[in-house]
């Protein structure tokens, strides 16, 4: 659009002067949320270096240390600041590793959802006609069932077909697949709605007159103009995916206890709640809530700022 001259500001400068950054600087809730999210993200990424011990390494665990309370309660061991779980694993370390697994699955599942959903939405919106009717009917049917329900059923069936051992081995990939497949219609509908608005614009006509192929017009011309709603629902979808993963793990259809995510930590701690060891389940629970909450709040803020015409319904 703009011709590159000497006065055109660099990409970084344009970003810094954008409305997005301007409103971010004025919104302390968004700053606070981003800060917490980055802390959790960095903690998760660098878990192998930050965590005091490796919860996957059985040689570092002693059953004698099991169910120690966190520091601020009598009977705690200063070696384990957040206490230990029933197997004697340091809770701080398992939470860092667990957040890592939860975030990997959350981002992975959203990437898969976006891949399927954006492709389907572009095709339905741009090509129209029978393809549109068929794809959107498919999305409607799947959306009329709760996404969580679809995920639970698919997870249960995969587990029944392949058996528990195989399921645990490939749990991360299977969860990405299950949650990705369960929630693609959200993307498809959002993208289709924006494509319908873009399709009749002149630049699309121009591209068509120039003889570009449909695929090029869809991905190179229309897609960049539908990015802001995609961006906004992505944040909400990451929060949803993390919750879905935790729910599946809690039901025993997710990560095994040997390679825990936040959800399976909550599940394994729940058995010890009645005996008074509340920290095993409630501390990972609190981390999960904070993670999902900051992502949701950032999503709210993004929606207000970018104000895309989100597809209602």
């Amino acid at each position: 659009m703009t011709t590159p001259t000497a006065t055109t500001p660099s990409r970084w400068k344009r970003f810094r002067n954008s409305y997005l950054v301007y409103s971010f600087k004025r919104d302390w809730i968004a700053q606070f949320c981003l800060a917490i999210f980055l802390c959790l993200l960095l903690g998760a990424i660098f878990a192998p270096w930050l965590a005091p011990m490796n919860p996957y390494d059985l040689t570092q665990i002693s059953i004698l240390d099991s169910e120690l309370p966190p520091l601020w309660i009598d009977g705690a061991d200063p070696l384990f600041p957040l206490g230990t779980d029933a197997q004697g694993r340091d809770l701080l370390s398992t939470i860092l590793y667990g957040a890592r697994v939860s975030l990997i699955i959350g981002f992975g599942a959203v990437m898969l959802q976006a891949l399927i959903g954006v492709t389907v939405g572009l095709m339905a919106g741009y090509l129209g006609g029978r393809i549109d009717a068929f794809l959107m009917r498919l999305a409607d049917i799947q959306l009329s069932f709760s996404t969580l329900m679809v995920a639970i059923i698919v997870g249960a069936l995969i587990k029944a077909v392949f058996g528990g051992a195989v399921y645990s081995d490939y749990a991360v990939w299977l969860l990405v697949l299950i949650i990705g497949l369960a929630e693609w219609p959200q993307y498809a509908r959002t993208v289709r709605a924006s494509v319908l608005a873009e399709r009749s614009k002149e630049y699309v006509d121009a591209a068509r007159v120039m003889g570009y192929r449909d695929r090029r017009i869809m991905f190179r011309h229309i897609l960049p103009n539908t990015l802001s709603p995609i961006f906004v629902i992505s944040t909400v979808q990451i929060a949803n995916a993390i919750i879905s993963e935790a729910a599946l793990s809690f039901l025993g259809l997710g990560m095994p206890e040997t390679q825990p995510s936040l959800g399976s930590l909550i599940k394994s701690g729940f058995d010890y709640l009645q005996s008074g060891s509340w920290w095993i389940t409630l501390i990972p629970g609190a981390v999960l809530v904070v993670l999902v909450l900051v992502v949701n709040l950032l999503g709210d803020w993004l929606r207000d700022v970018m104000n895309p015409r989100l597809y209602k319904g």
Binding site: F145, S146, L273, V289, L293
Partner: protein, 349 residues
């Protein structure tokens, strides 16, 4: 209207057909019924005979035809674990789940409407802001975690005493921060009122209600924030409309405008979303029932998965599919009836 009705029914029929094909594919590909029926010692020739007799060698279509015919007559086969017809197992577990859903719905309706309306009428008041922040926190807490926290607070109890115990105010503050616990958090209790058939109810005794409270609140917690936000958003939109301004200009009392004129049009979209969410709540019963060991369909389904009880899993899928399809179809039809502006033939707007 009749064209719309037929179209919606056809749609529902196609969805049920797809669900039944998927269910049948699961049933015919998972597990070996012969293995389940006879022991290890039965020779291969006899097995083959039995296989032929039961029609397991027929083509997929013939077998599906038989499955569908039986299913339409309410015959879904026998549960491996309970050794009785799966429909009877489901019938035994269905009332518990329905009661949970009914109780949660009551909680949602009673709280979401007044709070949502209040937040729309006074969007800038401190209380509204408080409700809106609580609701976004509520959305971010997974339902099983709400359930666990409720158990910790009201079943186990929290002894939190950061203030000095030897002073009067310290004791009082500690008392405020601590909870006693003692609420039941496991199962449905024994004091159930028999209604009819397999339906025993928790609603008609105080003891039964205490068992119902925590599971119902945690199930409601997932939908309540959504409804509050939805009602608020719709009401805010309605309050901007011309007819509300006109009613104000006419001098009708604010109370009447809010609760008679505006609320009516607010509830239209809320009812449709609500109907669909009722179906969705079935999914969340699986989580709630697992935490509270509530003997309903969700817990039964999860146990059936652990026991690889394929016929029971398949029956559950069909029944839940039916619930979803029926609620969605009903919601569409009701919406078409009460809102004449909806394009009934489903043409794109």
């Amino acid at each position: 209207m009749i064209a719309f009705l037929i179209k919606r029914l056809m749609h529902a029929f196609v969805v049920m057909f797809v669900i039944s094909v998927i269910s049948f594919a699961i049933q015919s590909n998972l597990g070996d019924p012969i293995q389940q029926m006879v022991g290890q010692s039965v020779p291969e020739s006899q097995r083959a005979e039995l296989r032929e007799e039961l029609g397991l060698n027929d083509s997929f279509l013939v077998q599906y035809g038989r499955f569908a015919t039986n299913a339409l007559q309410g015959d879904f086969g026998y549960s491996y674990f309970f050794n009785e017809p799966t429909t009877e197992v489901i019938q035994r577990h269905l009332p518990a789940t329905l009661e949970l859903v009914i109780a949660a719905t009551l909680i949602i309706v009673v709280f979401s409407v007044p709070i949502g309306v209040y937040c729309a009428i006074r969007p800038r008041s401190a209380l509204s802001r408080f409700f809106m922040s609580v609701s976004i926190i509520g959305i971010s807490i997974p339902v099983f975690l709400t359930a666990i926290m409720l158990i910790q607070l009201f079943a186990i109890g929290v002894d939190f005493s950061p203030f000095p115990v030897d002073t009067g105010w310290g004791q009082w503050l500690n008392g405020v921060l601590s909870t006693e616990g003692g609420m039941p958090s496991y199962g449905r209790g024994n004091d159930l009122t028999h209604l009819f058939g397999t339906w025993d109810s928790n609603f008609f005794s105080l003891d039964g209600l205490t068992y119902l409270v925590l599971p119902a609140v945690s199930l409601a917690s997932i939908m309540l924030p959504l409804f509050i936000r939805l009602i608020r958003a719709e009401m805010l939109e309605v309050l901007q409309s011309e007819y509300v301004k006109f009613a104000t200009a006419k001098g009708i009392s604010l109370k009447r405008i809010y609760f008679v004129h505006a609320l009516k049009n607010t509830m239209l979209p809320v009812i449709t979303v609500g109907g669909v969410q009722l179906g969705t709540m079935v999914a969340y019963t699986i989580l709630t029932e697992t935490v509270f060991q509530w003997p309903g369909m969700g817990l039964m389904f999860l146990e059936a998965i652990q026991r690889s009880d394929i016929p029971l899993i398949v029956t559950y899928l069909m029944i839940v599919g039916l619930i979803f399809v029926v609620t969605n179809t009903l919601v569409d039809l009701v919406y078409g009836l009460i809102n004449p502006t909806v394009k009934l033939t489903g043409k794109p707007a």
